[in-house]
């Protein structure tokens, strides 16, 4: 996942210059991505990882580096799989674990 995200950022914002991006580098401080760029990045994450990012989640804590994005996606995926699981328990009438 880290690699996919890093590749997207490098290809789209750094014109393919790989050496310029560490996983912990802040997009904001380095000025790599601007305000329309971040919307584009979110669109990519939504399509690639099947998640929905709300406006309120568009904050640096979630998105401001490659590694922050990876943790955010893992968190989103685990929440959504938990919700899906709960949903399937409810619809099959089984007791919740």
């Amino acid at each position: 996942m880290l690699q996919t995200i890093r590749k997207f950022v490098i290809d789209n914002y750094l014109f393919g210059e790989e050496g310029k991006l560490g996983d912990e580098d802040s997009f904001m401080e380095t000025g790599i991505i601007d305000s329309t760029g971040i919307l584009e990045l979110v669109r990519f994450l939504e399509t690639t990882y099947g998640i929905k990012v709300t406006d309120e989640e568009l904050i640096p804590d979630n998105l401001d580096s490659v590694s922050k994005i990876a943790s955010f996606i893992l968190m989103k995926q685990s929440v959504s799989s938990q919700t899906a699981q709960e949903h399937s328990f409810r619809s099959s009438g089984e007791p919740r674990p």
């Binding site: 997009f27 401080e29 790599i32 991505i33 305000s35 329309t36 919307l39 584009e40 406006d55 401001d64």
Partner: protein, 518 residues
């Protein structure tokens, strides 16, 4: 005309305990700001700078930027302003063109482009590795212990230069606009009066201060003893909105792009801003569909649509909020102290409905372009500023911009405004923004090419949907011949779409991060 030093005009007579600037981690009082500007002035004079010498300032919005700016003006020197993300070649050419012997730069710029500063005295915002071949290098944070501040203000005469601001024109080459102390004071007085600013005002500043619109926020709020909240995180609009709520900001200022992002990609519509007294929009044309949305979203906030140019220090006109509904799409009338006329090619005032060029007169009209006498003579004639913007005027004297002089395409010999088509296209409802350029066409001369940025990810078949929508809105010869869907439009630092880049665009590579750095 005024002969007061801008630093004196902005700083003297303030309650030294009041907050002037708010940053994420700290606040700066008027007292602290005055002292730090004085220390910078002392440092500059210690570098043997003489009145009229240029000082290049290259930094993001920060305490460092504001103190260096005011300190330079206090010392009677000329500040040269460029964006912090300027490229090495831009930095080098601006240094060469301006002849700046002193550079105030944030450490990250020095780390990247240090060699560009050889032969200058270099002041940095924090500790920074030594730049090669500089005459001296000083860390600004050490000045407080070593440098007693200068407390007087260099005398200035009415046409003495304060700043050379390199413009981010959407067409043509970047140019240094020469702004005098009296230009800044005249424009500040004008803006303060029509916005009725006072010391209770707290402005959320996301615009860079090196850009004339951003600088105007600083000038006006410091003048009235108000507060400027600095936030460089607009790429995460939620953080800015939340801070505006938390700090009870009374004002927000943005370009069309800021408002489009807030309206289409943030929780603006779901949040309430009871303290927000006014918002300002300038820096380009915001399509009426967005203005209407903004009015619906912020029903209790006064919305000012404004128009200006760096060549006029910043502001030339505004549309009073109470006229917004009736005169939607207008840039209003001349701001206080500014006379705006719309003239035909013979220099006569146009009649209502006719198109002519906007020509401005006022104490805010800049002195000319730096070292470009020929170009200056074309744009600045007999104390008038020929803006290059084409407009019509209605029966009540309200001005409507038709287009930039060069933002036309010639189709079947007829001049067609790109903006008109852009407005029609964006109303299809699926787009954040659109830009139109002309492409050579054997039959029409030029045909319409549309670059469209979708608001969500459902882009399948979008080109066709745009095309069918256009068929309901536009005459046959104005229908797009090509439609390209892009993730974003290339913009310069002032948020203006770089049509020159779009015109060179043949395929659809990622265009998102292309900036004109000046």
């Amino acid at each position: 005309m005024s002969d007061i030093n801008v630093a004196q005009y902005l700083l003297v007579g303030k309650d030294s305990r009041r907050t002037a600037l708010s940053f994420l981690q700290s606040t700066v009082s008027y007292g602290d700001l005055t002292a730090q500007a004085g220390r910078i002035a002392a440092y500059l004079l210690r570098c043997h700078a003489r009145p009229g010498d240029r000082v290049l300032l290259v930094s993001d919005n920060s305490f460092f930027w504001v103190a260096c700016y005011l300190g330079t003006l206090q010392a009677g020197l000329i500040t040269v302003l460029i964006p912090a993300n300027s490229s090495a070649s831009d930095l080098a050419s601006v240094l060469r063109m301006s002849g700046a012997g002193i550079v105030c730069a944030q450490a990250s710029v020095v780390a990247t482009y240090g060699s560009a500063f050889s032969g200058t005295h270099l002041l940095t915002d924090r500790a920074s590795p030594p730049a090669p071949r500089v005459l001296s290098q000083v860390n600004c944070s050490t000045l407080s212990s070593t440098q007693p501040p200068v407390t007087d203000y260099a005398p200035v005469n009415h046409d003495q230069l304060a700043a050379v601001v390199f413009t981010s024109g959407s067409t043509g080459q970047p140019r240094g606009v020469m702004i005098t102390h009296s230009n800044i004071i005249a424009n500040t007085e004008s803006i303060v009066s029509y916005l009725s600013l006072n010391q209770q005002d707290r402005m959320m500043a996301v615009l860079p201060f090196h850009y004339c619109y951003g600088a105007s926020l600083l000038h006006t709020h410091l003048r009235v003893g108000g507060e400027v909240v600095v936030d460089n995180r607009f790429m995460y609009p939620e953080t800015v909105l939340q801070r505006m709520k938390d700090l009870q900001c009374t004002g927000f200022a943005g370009t069309p792009s800021h408002f489009q992002i807030l309206l289409r990609g943030s929780s603006l519509k779901r949040k309430r801003f009871p303290s927000l007294r006014h918002v300002q929009q300038a820096g380009g044309h915001l399509a009426p569909i967005f203005v209407r949305e903004l009015m619906e979203t912020l029903p209790d906030t006064r919305i000012y649509i404004m128009y200006g140019q760096t060549e006029a220090t910043a502001r030339l006109s505004y549309l009073a909020p109470e006229m917004l509904e009736a005169k939607l799409g207008s840039i209003g009338k001349g701001a206080p102290g500014v006379t705006l006329r719309v003239l035909d090619e013979q220099g006569r005032d146009v009649r209502p409905g006719e198109v002519g060029e906007i020509v401005a007169e006022g104490a805010n009209v800049a002195k000319g372009y730096w070292h470009e006498p020929k170009e200056s003579e074309t744009v600045f004639r007999n104390g008038l500023l020929y803006t290059g913007d084409l407009a019509r005027i209605d029966e009540d004297g309200f001005i409507y911009i038709v287009d930039r002089t060069k933002d036309f395409l010639k189709c079947r010999g007829e001049k067609i405004s790109c903006r008109q088509i852009e407005e029609a296209v964006v109303e299809c409802g699926e787009l954040v923004e659109a830009a139109v350029v002309g492409i050579p066409d054997d039959v029409l001369g030029e045909a319409v090419k549309v670059f469209a940025v979708p608001r969500n990810k459902h882009v399948d078949g979008l080109e066709e949907r745009i095309a069918s929508y256009c068929r309901t809105r536009l005459p046959l010869h104005q229908l797009p011949k090509q439609i390209v869907v892009l993730r974003s439009l290339p913009k310069n630092i002032a948020g203006k779409v770089m049509k020159s880049i779009l015109k060179r665009h043949n395929t659809a590579p990622p265009l998102s991060n292309i900036h004109d750095h000046i």
